[in-house]
């Protein structure tokens, strides 16, 4: 038996359950936690947290929803069979048929498959997804979108059918905002601003991008007027290179883990090159990007001095055109007229 440490991460859960569960049940919950912690040892979440934080959070949600001991234990053990080398029989031997059946059915649970699933399996799946959606900002952008859509289409209706409005509402909100943040749909008035931020956020480490975009999506709703929002966003975009440098400093490595960080950096470079090639291949695309930028610079200059604005209008476009041509030569990009694409 492991000594009971007052600082074990499972203690808050046990404290919450102590009013409702007897000591035998509490021991079983503690046992399930220790079993799961042992099997998940060394595994990390995308956030860089130890993996066990996820089953623990799901179990805490189950406890908060006043579910029974079997459900709480199954929540703690729900990824052990699927994501570690642990044999299902081991769970059955130690925690009994009820818990083991739930864990196995949850692992086998496929969204959109048969509708005849046991409600208890669906409830666990919902709590599992809820925690995953709360921490989705660390997952790759593509997966964020598919999971959010899946959540909206399949899981939110399930939660509603169970009459579980609290969970349905939160899942819906998280998934909808995730999609808004990533695609710029809806959210009247701030779409263009978010779009610009999303483009600019490409300079941030990939693992941090989701978090900051979500954070800023919330902040953009704070200023009452359009002007305040625009200023907030523009200043942010100007500060992005600095933020990127800060986030890449070694101090952040623990959070945006070492290797993931390096992979992200190389992926970013590859992406950047691809985007640059795509831009330069066409006549129109570079100017679609540089045009508004030039206009903005001219406007900014004009606020200070109309004379220098005129000079900027005359000199900046030719300089940019030369730069585009130079880049094309340099990268060996064949220019293609947009009208003979077919």
């Amino acid at each position: 038996m492991t000594p009971r440490s007052p600082h074990s991460p499972v203690e808050p859960l046990l404290a919450e359950l102590s009013g409702r569960f007897g000591s035998a049940e509490l021991d079983q919950v503690r046992g399930a936690y220790e079993f799961a912690a042992r099997w998940h040892q060394g595994q990390l979440r995308k956030s860089g947290d130890p993996y066990i934080t996820h089953p623990l959070a799901v179990a805490e949600a189950a406890a908060a929803a006043r579910l029974d001991c079997i459900m709480v234990c199954a929540a703690l053990l729900h990824d052990v069979v699927e994501d570690t080398d642990c044999e299902p029989e081991l769970v059955r031997d130690q925690f009994g048929d009820d818990v083991a059946d739930l864990v196995e059915r949850l692992s086998a649970f496929r969204l959109g498959a048969a509708e005849r699933d046991d409600d208890r399996v669906v409830i666990l799946k919902l709590l599992d997804r809820l925690h995953n959606m709360r921490t989705i900002e660390y997952v790759e952008t593509g997966k964020q979108l598919t999971r959010s859509r899946e959540t909206l289409e399949l899981l939110v209706p399930r939660a509603r059918r169970l009459g579980w409005a609290v969970v349905a509402d939160e899942l819906e909100e998280l998934a909808q905002h995730r999609i808004d943040v990533l695609t710029g749909d809806g959210s009247g008035g701030i779409t263009a601003t978010l779009c610009a931020l999303r483009l600019g956020s490409l300079v941030l480490p990939a693992a941090a991008r989701g978090r900051y975009l979500e954070e800023w999506a919330a902040e953009l709703r704070t200023p009452a007027d359009r002007h305040g929002r625009r200023r907030f966003a523009w200043q942010l975009i100007l500060g992005l290179p600095r933020l990127s440098v800060m986030l890449r400093s070694p101090r952040w490595d623990a959070r945006y883990a070492g290797t993931a960080h390096r992979i992200a950096a190389s992926r970013l470079t590859r992406w950047g090159c691809k985007a640059l090639h795509w831009l330069l291949r066409s006549d129109v695309r570079p100017w679609a990007l540089l045009g508004p930028l030039t206009a903005w610079i001219v406007l900014q200059t004009a606020q200070g001095n109309a004379g220098s604005a005129v000079v900027t209008v005359i000199t900046l476009p030719p300089v940019l055109a030369t730069a585009v041509t130079w880049l094309r030569d340099r990268l060996g990009v064949k220019q293609r007229r947009d009208d003979d694409r077919r």
């Binding site: 905002h177 979500e214 954070e215 919330a218 704070t222 933020l243 800060m246 986030l247 101090r251």
Partner: protein, 112 residues
């Protein structure tokens, strides 16, 4: 815990000053920009730096607040206990060096 210090630029001092005024208060980025009068592009890199140093921690707003409000989750920042202690020292040091510089200027002015 690292003894490493952020560069005590004026915006950094303003941000720390605002946070330390009420060390247990959670504050979100926009609020901090408004309170310090600093642009967002300055405040977020500072927050990232302080969080990387362990002076700050940040967490998402609870679902029972942002879901009824119908907006995405805010990210709230708060000084860690260690961060609050170090920030106090750093702010005092910055204040002292500012006073010293002012005194030097005065004596230099008196001499010339």
């Amino acid at each position: 815990m690292s003894r490493k210090m952020p560069r005590m630029t004026l915006p950094t001092q303003l941000v720390l000053g605002e946070l330390i005024a009420e060390p247990t208060r959670r504050i979100h980025g926009f609020e901090l920009c408004a309170a310090t009068g600093q642009p967002s592009g300055t405040v977020y890199p500072i927050l990232a730096r302080l969080e990387g140093l362990g002076w700050l921690e940040s967490e998402w707003e609870e679902p029972d607040v942002h879901v009824p409000a119908g907006r995405p989750r805010r990210r709230y920042y708060q000084l860690t206990r260690d961060g609050a202690a170090q920030a106090k020292i750093a702010l005092q040091a910055a204040e002292t060096s500012r006073l010293k510089a002012a005194a030097r200027l005065r004596t230099a002015g008196a001499r010339s």
